[in-house]
Symmetry: C2
């Protein structure tokens, strides 16, 4: 895959006009969902000449609309409104818009350029960077897609002021994950920042640090053959929590599930790899304070284990795959844990989270 230009700025319109002047596309399209079309696009159009002159394509919001129907609509609009292979698509939105828009761009006339402008913290730190694009299909998340890097990603915190705090915390969990897999300095700076205080300039600095952790890993392993699996830290357990919550009909935000999943996987890291107990307690305390706790009893263990055994990272269903840490920044991909070990870790999680 080609290189991806990452631009960290709180002057988004200027950055967009500059990058488009540099690329020189034949025609510019902006993809937004109904939310960003109402809240964010007008702000961008007011300041960016390119955005004001672009054709806009608007799709329905929400993960349930990250589907083939919306994708077809994007392809169709591009074709019918004169996109050649020299056109460029700007994806303005959260993970749904950047995932789907970047996939549409990767496949329209065998690939046109795109620029991602994530409008959520989770999108900025996760979906918009690193080239995983796609849609949900046949009831499965991201079943269809491609590894394809946006030409540029403009990362800013200016649009986050319209987001609820829960949404910010959800994104921040992925930043904590990047802290855990990078180094103690980055990790410490994250634990010191209080998301509720909402300092956009400081958040942009932390975000830059965090995105670069991801970018570095993606550059080394774009298609997840090895080290990129480090980015799955917290997600094996986290996905099981999300699935359980969905089954109970009270869904939890993805980032919250990751935060709680990280606690359990650090417990496993402590048990199996000697991850320091004091760091574990410190992290669990931070999560409890900011995210509260995901509540379950030992009656839920079999169901949680069942969800984990279906994880697409596993080689076989009874060997559950994890990334574990020996210490902050010292990781080991392709670990496995037995149901007994996971059960023990879930017990300790419930202790730590005072359940």
């Amino acid at each position: 895959m080609e290189e991806q230009q990452l631009i960290f700025t709180n002057h988004v319109a200027e950055a967009l006009d500059n990058i488009l002047a540099e690329i020189g596309p034949a025609k510019v399209f902006v993809l937004a969902d109904v939310n960003t079309a109402g809240l964010v696009l007008p702000r961008l159009q007011a300041e960016s000449k390119a955005a004001a002159e672009a054709e806009t394509i608007i799709v329905k919001a929400g993960d349930m609309n990250k589907n083939l129907e919306s994708l077809s609509l994007i392809w169709k609009q591009l074709g019918e409104r004169g996109a050649t292979r020299h056109a460029l698509l700007v994806n303005l939105g959260g993970g749904v818009v950047t995932d789907m828009g970047a996939f549409a761009a990767a496949t329209f006339k065998r690939g046109i350029k795109c620029v991602n402008i994530p409008t959520t913290l989770l999108g900025a730190v996760d979906a918009a960077v690193g080239g995983k694009t796609g849609i949900n299909f046949n009831g499965l998340k991201n079943e269809i897609g491609a590894f394809s890097l946006a030409t540029a990603v403009i990362i800013s915190t200016t649009f986050f002021n319209t987001l609820p705090e829960q949404e910010l915390l959800s994104g921040y969990a992925e930043m904590l994950k990047h802290g855990l897999i990078s180094d103690k300095h980055i990790y410490d700076s994250l634990l010191k920042y209080r998301i509720a205080m909402a300092d956009p300039q400081r958040l942009l600095e932390l975000l830059e640090q965090s995105v670069k952790v991801k970018e570095d890993i993606v550059r080394r392993d774009p298609t997840e053959q090895g080290i990129r699996r480090a980015l799955n830290l917290g997600h094996t357990i986290g996905h099981a929590f999300e699935s359980l919550a969905l089954e109970r009909r009270s869904p939890i935000p993805h980032g919250y599930a990751v935060a709680w999943g990280l606690v359990v996987e650090l417990v496993l890291s402590h048990m199996k790899m000697g991850f320091p107990a004091d760091e574990l307690r410190r992290f669990a305390g931070y999560v409890l304070e900011n995210y509260g706790a995901f509540d379950f009893t030992c009656d839920d263990y079999p169901e949680l284990l069942r969800f984990m055994s279906h994880d697409k990272k596993n080689e076989t269903p009874d060997q559950i795959n994890f990334t574990l840490l020996r210490n902050i920044g010292d990781l080991q991909i392709d670990c496995t844990a037995t149901p007994e070990e996971i059960t023990a870790a879930l017990d300790i999680y419930r202790d730590l989270m005072k359940l």
Copy 2:
């Protein structure tokens, strides 16, 4: 893009079993259309253990079914019949099957491996090699797709004995094109072979030579930024002939259109680049003898020029893009010709073809 393994053999089953043993996929699927499922798949299953044990997916035949509906069916069947990201798809068929199957593989779970087994000469020399994958969409050919190389392509002439001679000649025109853009030795060997004599072993040798010409160009320019446009020789005029024939409701085979398009583009090459007159006459004679002539009058010129001006290779509609030759193997991409020059070339074509 990664490297693509090309296997030239008339022992297809053995080659398939070997390559699958080497790759070691978790599960194998074979995609065929209703024609190859009836005529070719049983032969392959009788000799190849892997093919006999594979799950089969069957789609409707024909270019009009190279569409989103068939693609969705392939994705769905893969998912519902247990394809993980370690599964592999074998595409057994002509250009429709290999284009669409390879695109399905490139996008299922962000990419699984695939092996192409072209069953037509045109497929072997053109569609199955080089990573251009995709489907027709919204009335446009190959509107949606990706550049994605099959892991391996098994090229054989053993399945061609079920093909009508017209089909073989159609594929042979692309081989002639590869001869023209490579060197005099390859070109001469092609003009000496008589397709009607049907010597499969000799055809396989010529095919290997020819595919390697394409492979070499694709390796230097996988996404058609420059030199890969050389492969469009004959196609600017050829596509216009195809469109005119379609408008007259008497469609012509793609390769025939390319053969006739090559004659006109060699005339242009002679006029603008000094391509030798005797080589031009020799080529026109070969085409006339084997393909006959595409018949039109000067009343059709405006319509032909209109089709050319819509070609997606043009930068602007009135500068029509061509690849031209100074001599066999000595090419110049990104040439343009005026309507007057093209008109003159069409006149000369009609003379050469005794119309």
